[in-house]
């Protein structure tokens, strides 16, 4: 199962990158896709639950517009703070509790925190996220935990 899926994904990606349909190209595509999938099909998909994975990807796509808006806000904030003559910053390091269960959820939350207003992820472990914020009031926004709630909704109630 994972072998076929890996081969199909790789073949589609090959066509996307090459965009040509000559006989030699397609033949070498099939051969190399099968060979690479044979070597590494347990890496890309492995024992993961494909159906649950697709549900999560779908939920993640619904999360993207909100994330994009936060990125825009964060850049406006950054431009203001950078070009302001007095530079209104008051950096702090703080931490909050990690309530996520999956590794992908932690990666998504850590990257989202880095992209949203005034905060970057410094360290992640099982218990907590350690965050550096460029100003105190921005740290409070993150402490309310809206982003973590959204990522938890993507993870859903299903087992890992």
């Amino acid at each position: 199962m994972s072998f076929i899926l890996t081969a199909v994904i790789m073949f589609l990606f090959w066509i996307l990158l090459s965009g040509e349909f000559g006989f030699i190209l397609i033949a070498s595509a099939i051969i190399s896709c099968l060979f690479v999938s044979y070597l590494s099909h347990d890496l890309l998909i492995g024992k993961a639950n494909v159906r649950l994975g697709l549900i999560r990807i779908f939920r993640f796509i619904k999360y993207l517009p909100w994330l994009m808006w936060q990125i825009v806000l964060s850049n406006i904030d950054l431009v203001k703070r950078t070009l302001h003559p007095k530079m209104p910053i008051s950096p702090t390091i703080f931490s909050f509790k990690n309530e996520l269960r999956t590794e992908m959820g932690m990666v998504a939350l850590a990257n989202s925190i880095t992209l949203t207003p005034g905060t970057i992820t410094v360290d992640v472990n099982e218990d907590e996220f350690i965050i550096h914020a460029v100003a105190l009031e921005l740290a409070e926004g993150l402490m309310e935990g809206e982003m973590q709630r959204r990522i938890k909704a993507i993870e859903g109630e299903e087992d890992v």
């Binding site: 990125i71 910053i89 850590a110």
Partner: protein
């Protein structure tokens, strides 16, 4: 039609360039390592994203714009990850964050 597309892509590319310039200024102006990571991580990500989106609009929908979209997705994953890796390295090595009213940190 063509002129509208050119104008839109021009606006997107100009905004992206502005953000990248501001990010560069920010890296110079901010006081310490951690605060410098902020403009490097955020300004670059959206700046490059906007420049590439502008090029996508200019190119129209074909294979090249799909490739540009793949590059954008890659940057949006890789750039915050790199920022995080640098910040974590500094944190583990014990770099003290700069705090306001207490002068320079080390």
């Amino acid at each position: 039609m063509d002129i509208i597309r050119t104008i839109i892509s021009g606006i997107l590319i100009a905004t992206g360039c502005f953000l990248i310039v501001v990010a560069a200024i920010g890296v110079v102006r901010f006081p310490d390592f951690y605060t410098r990571m902020h403009p490097a991580g955020k300004g670059d990500t959206l700046g490059q994203g906007l420049v590439l989106t502008g090029l996508m609009v200019y190119e129209g929908f074909d294979l090249i714009s799909v490739k540009l979209l793949i590059i954008i997705i890659f940057i949006f994953i890789a750039n915050p990850t790199a920022t995080h890796a640098l910040a974590k390295a500094a944190y583990v090595a014990g770099v003290k964050p700069w705090v306001k009213d207490k002068g320079e940190g080390k």
